[in-house]
């Protein structure tokens, strides 16, 4: 039901995790740069798109040159208090309780407003108009062979979804067989749904703790039962307890594509904002193999036609 088909000719891989801090951004950034560097055909553009618009951090690893930013706007209600007769119709119809009547006048709590336009349509006095307001900003840039894009939600606006939606519309289109790697937000709710919509493959990053496993179960449920797209797992902070993740993967028939050990050295490299693939050929090889495994189970440039 959640799957939107897109035309053949490009491929979208979404990196997701359920739990925060498992290493989605580390994996997405290293993978994207590795593929872009290896890419023998410069007409096949490789994109990294940071869809965690609440905390966009992939750019910190990539350090791209940004083009002119593009604002994300939505229409928000403006109350003309002189015209408002305090009837309370707006408060009654607002499904998000963003409108209240105080001392006979309507008042908006903007951090609850979804910008649906309902109050303006229903005000009998015409006392509510709408004005465009910026709720976020999109950025597009380049670093060597890699194209990069991100969205950033303005602090104080509640919903990241419109920013993600505009970001994907702006960037994801067919231009000479591009590959898009999307870095999703943590969790399993609407922002993650938005990042998974239209994806051909989901790379699920987890860690061998009860938390990692618990949240992997939830994201797997979303990916397998709602989106019906193939997925593979990356075990980050891998070690003695990997069996808990492995037996779950076996039960759900999900392949494990890569492991990165729990190590202070890796934590230090990532904390400095450096790339693992630059640090050692051993890491580069892991990411290269991971990508080959993804391609081996995802039809080449066929698009998701479900």
């Amino acid at each position: 039901m959640l799957v939107c088909s897109h035309e053949p000719g490009y491929m979208v891989i979404t990196v997701a995790s359920g739990k925060g801090g498992t290493g989605k951004t580390t994996i997405a950034a290293n993978l994207a740069i590795m593929i872009a560097r290896d890419n023998p055909n410069p007409s096949e553009t490789v994109w990294l798109v940071d869809c965690d618009v609440e905390e966009p951090n992939a750019g910190l690893f990539i350090q791209p040159q940004f083009d002119t930013p593009k604002p994300v706007t939505r229409l928000f209600p403006q109350i003309n208090t002189d015209a408002c007769n305090g009837c309370g119709r707006c408060a009654e119809i607002c499904a998000f309780h963003a409108m209240v009547v105080i001392s006979g006048k309507a008042m908006l709590f903007k951090d609850l407003c979804h910008a649906c336009g309902s109050c303006a349509l229903n005000c009998s006095e015409g006392a509510i108009s709408e004005a465009s307001e910026q709720i976020g900003v999109l950025g597009k840039g380049q670093k060597d062979n890699l194209r990069f894009a991100q969205g950033e939600l303005t602090v104080g606006y509640p919903s990241p979804v419109p920013v993600i939606r505009d970001l994907k519309k702006w960037v994801i289109r067919e231009e000479e067989n591009p590959l898009f790697i999307l870095d999703a937000a943590p969790g399993t709710t609407c922002p993650v749904v938005e990042a998974l919509r239209g994806a051909d493959f989901a790379l699920l990053v987890t860690e061998p703790t009860p938390f990692g496993l618990h949240d992997l179960r939830l994201i797997t449920q979303l990916v397998q039962e709602e989106f019906h797209i193939p997925c593979g797992v990356v075990i980050n902070k891998s070690g003695e307890r990997d069996d808990m993740i492995e037996s779950f993967c076996q039960e759900k028939s999900i392949p494990v594509f890569m492991r990165l050990p729990l190590s202070r050295q890796i934590a230090e490299i990532c904390a400095r904002g450096q790339l693992l693939i630059d640090h050692s050929e051993k890491f580069a090889l892991k990411f290269r193999e991971c990508y080959q495994k993804i391609r081996s189970i995802t039809p080449t440039n066929s698009g998701n036609t479900e």
């Binding site: 739990k19 905390e55 951090n57 709710t189 618990h214």
Partner: protein
């Protein structure tokens, strides 16, 4: 009663580790009520082995449904829907995944052909733990309205805290800065911002602080994995000083904390090392900070 929220912006910085340790240390002398506001990846319960007492349905989202028999195909719904949820394909259909339940089409349809259907999108629970009552929730994967569920959960926890005359309501918050975070932040007395010395940690600390100041909630800083990156640690401490948030404590990088998580135990109840020493002195400082608020 003091309401304390733990958030981080960035995920995985150690919110739940800090929350569980504080619960373990605080309950020895204080009456506690706990809430896990990370409703789409609720993890605190895994550490506290709660015994479920109550289960409540969460009727979160409403979705519009178009009655094909009464629909006159006027197209008004598709014209006004801001979420592109009305699909036009011969007739008009609502894409439930895109519908935000705003009711705009319901009110606007001249034929009255649209109904709003309520569906259950999760559950929330009151449980007992050895540290006090725990309020936690499960939002079904793919659902919306996590902010609404957080609000409902918090109200129930606050009510319980008043009834049981608790000293502290401790809320483990969600990552990010979106609706569940704003819902968690509203009305709290203190926010503990858990960060780590990475570029992401630095960036997200600034944004987390913007949220707490937006809601006029005083904040303090916990720096986890503090010795991982001296240069960025200095930047974070500078930022904290600049925006005026006091340092509650620093926890050294310690892989045994991950081990404690894998044992599903608060670190302070199974370990005795520099990391748990840091957690203990953090609690001591938090206790005096709370009496001053």
């Amino acid at each position: 009663m003091k309401k304390v929220l733990i958030i981080s912006g960035k995920g995985g910085t150690g919110k739940t580790t800090v929350a569980a340790a504080l619960a373990d240390l605080a309950h020895q002398r204080k009456r506690l009520v706990l809430a896990d506001a990370d409703v789409d990846a609720a993890n605190l319960e895994l550490l506290l082995s709660p015994e479920q007492v109550e289960v409540h349905s969460f009727m979160g989202s409403q979705v519009a449904k178009i009655n094909e028999e009464t629909c006159t195909l006027c197209g008004r719904c598709a014209q006004i829907c801001r979420f592109e949820a009305i699909q036009v394909n011969g007739g008009y259909r609502v894409d439930e995944a895109l519908c935000e339940g705003c009711h705009a089409c319901f009110h606007e349809c001249p034929a009255g052909a649209i109904v709003m259907l309520t569906r259950q999108s999760g559950e929330w629970y009151r449980s007992e733990t050895r540290f006090g009552p725990l309020f936690h929730a499960f939002l079904y994967p793919g659902e919306e309205n996590s902010g609404k569920l957080v609000t409902e959960l918090k109200q129930a926890a606050e009510k319980q805290a008043r009834v049981s005359e608790a000293d502290i309501l401790l809320v483990d918050g969600p990552p990010g800065i979106g609706c569940p975070v704003t819902a968690a932040c509203r009305g709290m007395d203190l926010a503990i911002l858990v960060s780590e010395p990475s570029l992401s940690g630095l960036h997200d600390l600034g944004r987390a602080h913007e949220i707490t100041s937006h809601f006029h909630v005083p904040a303090c800083l916990v720096l986890n994995k503090a010795d991982l990156n001296p240069a960025t640690r200095a930047d974070i401490l500078d930022l904290a000083a600049q925006i005026g948030i006091p340092l509650l404590g620093e926890i050294p990088y310690d892989e045994s904390l991950v081990w404690a998580l894998s044992q599903a135990q608060p670190a302070t109840s199974v370990l005795d090392n520099p990391a748990t020493d840091a957690l203990k002195s953090m609690w001591a400082q938090l206790e005096s900070m709370l009496t001053a608020i």
